[in-house]
Amino acid sequence: MMPVRSRRRQIPLALVLGLALTSLFVVLALVSFIWTPYDVTKLDVANRMQLPSAAHWLGTDNIGRDILAMIMVGTRTSIAVALVAVGVGVGLGLPLGLLAASRHGSLLDEAIMRSNDLVFAFPSLVIAILITAAFGPSAFNAILAIGIFNIPVFARLSRSAALSLWQLDYLRFAQTAGKGVARISLEHILPNILNILIVQMTIQFSLGILAESGLSYIGLGVQPPTPSLGRMLADNRTLTALAPHLTLIPGMAIVLIVLGLNLLGDGLRDLTDPKLARQR
């Protein structure tokens, strides 16, 4: 005899954990607008590389800045960069994908998809380095470099999702009701692909945070004095063996944010797509 399972729809554990972690960091980032334990630009060379203490909860970095304050503001920076980069990807990729799907099989569709493939074929990190080499390292260029590679992701995703919807009868009906392609895309397709878009957005968002940290690590991301989690790693990387907390703390912060977002994405997918939830 097999055990009987309850039929109650469970809220995925991943969702709860992901939401908790994500909101923790979002709150940290938001609080940093009005309060940080210390001014992030305040140096205190005499008290540098301190271990966590009552005065500095997470210690101080190699030029004596408060690590907690830097984590708070750095989280804010990382989130902002990743958010805008995802925005760029969705803002351009989604319309392109919808357009391609609505003209499925046309030359336009082909052109959009081929250019997507082409962007995918370029090594993203190299292009990011080139962009910053051309225009100088800055938050804006980091966003640009990360955002460009988000465009084909969303274009492809929204195209394939929209294509499968275009097979459905209610879209055919909308056409017989005299509605144009643009209107159908907005009224019928967009709301129905929103859930997978949101899931992909959380994934790209977390990838954006990782990418920003990577770019900042090689000095091409957000510029000082604005703290970013990646630059904290870069600034203190030589001290990994000597004062491990200097890189462990920002490193763990990145891991936790990305983990939170990935879990959130997974949880959302399970919640919005019961078919997948059963399999997972």
């Binding site: 630009t41 060379v45 030029i63 004596g64 907390h245």
Partner: protein, 498 residues
Amino acid sequence: MRRIFALQFPTRTLAASLMLAGASLGMAQAQTSATIGMQLEPPHLDPTAGAAAAIDEVVYANVFEGLTRYRSDGSVAPALAESWDISDDGLTYTFHLHAGVTFHDGSALNAEDVKFSLDRARAEDSTNAQKALFAGIEAVEAVDDTTVKVTLSAPDGAFVTKMAWGDAVILAPESVEQAATAPVGSGPFKFDRWVRGDRVELVRNPDYWGDAVALESATFKFISDPNAAFAAVMAGDIDAFPGYPAPETLAAFEADPRFDVVVGSTEGETILSTNNKAEALSDVRVREAIAHAINRQEIIDGAMFGFGTPIGTHFAPHNPDYVDLTGQSNYDPERSKELLKAAGYENGLTLTLKLPPPSYARRGGEIVAAQLRAVGIETEISNLEWAQWLEQVFRGKDFDLTIVSHTEPMDINIYARPGYYFQYDKAEFQDLMKALDVEADPAKRSALLKQAQKMIADDYVNGYLFQLARAGVVNAKLKGLWQNAPTQANDLTAVHWQ
């Protein structure tokens, strides 16, 4: 919070295990070769066709030799030229070369090669990065195989020193084409191979004309990432890292008996370069305000972890003619604020601060920015690569402030060039330098140099931060490397294992 204290343990265990491992590592070492770490890889190996310090750091005194050479204390000694005579009017230098010197390919090095090298460097289409060194030469004549006569257009007290530069080494006309990729020189080491991006290998030149060297072979290994440099030295992959890029980790090496930490001076005056033609900065009060806003010791501690000597003018402190002017621009934020107020900037001032890649600039820049902010000057920092820095700052003069180390020796004369990137244009100073150029009397030269130092300090041309220290980590058993860096070189001629 408790948890994070536990993170400290790896540090202690690390130090302990490193000590244990040290002994066995020393045993395994092949005692006739040495691996020297360098942060930057040379783009090519022809010192007469490029400015990159890394070229000289590999080939100077090892592969290539000039008529004269620097010694580690900064003095100039004979090299290929055994001796030289100077005519009374100071215009004609007659160099007497060592007899029997051969290039690595076996061909003889004679006066014709010297003439060729000097003529090539000063030719119209020369790509020599320091062409100015040769500007004063009017003619070069090979008198016989071992005698070269150089005629100058005007007396030049520093001519023998100029010939000691890496840019003035002697090459043979038949091998000059390959100097960039497979250099053929006359030095104690022969070029063996270059694994690009990784290392250059040299082997002993058995036919060397001078004193034989102890090392049979030497490898220069290029590691740009400071963290990787740390790991490589710690792991014993590198025997010596003379220009060690991570001063913050030197404490760990000092505590470890396997290593010696060598701190010497360099010719690198690290300055907060100021665009003297920029709107606000053309006002000497603003420049003085900046000077007083800077806490040099904090920068040295914060950016260089204590390695560096404060300077108050553009001159190396180890030079006998150095004048300590640091007191004139002491840390005095209150004075800064007054000066700014007087200049009309009591409500603040925003300046750009463009930083090239080295850590003294990047880290120092953050600290300088914080110090300036404390007196009411906001800075917009942008980190630039060297290429961008050259484009925007050096050539484009599109900057307010930048931090850079001027590593050429005795380069105070750059203040006499009105078109130089910091755009200091003062006739008196230019006259001073002209006088210096033609002055051969050491006492008078010294007086002129001191006057020049004071003049630029009085004008607060740039913010003078510190003399770049040359901190190196060396295997405790490896001896004979230079402590100081009067010129950019890793002279291996005296290096040996204990």
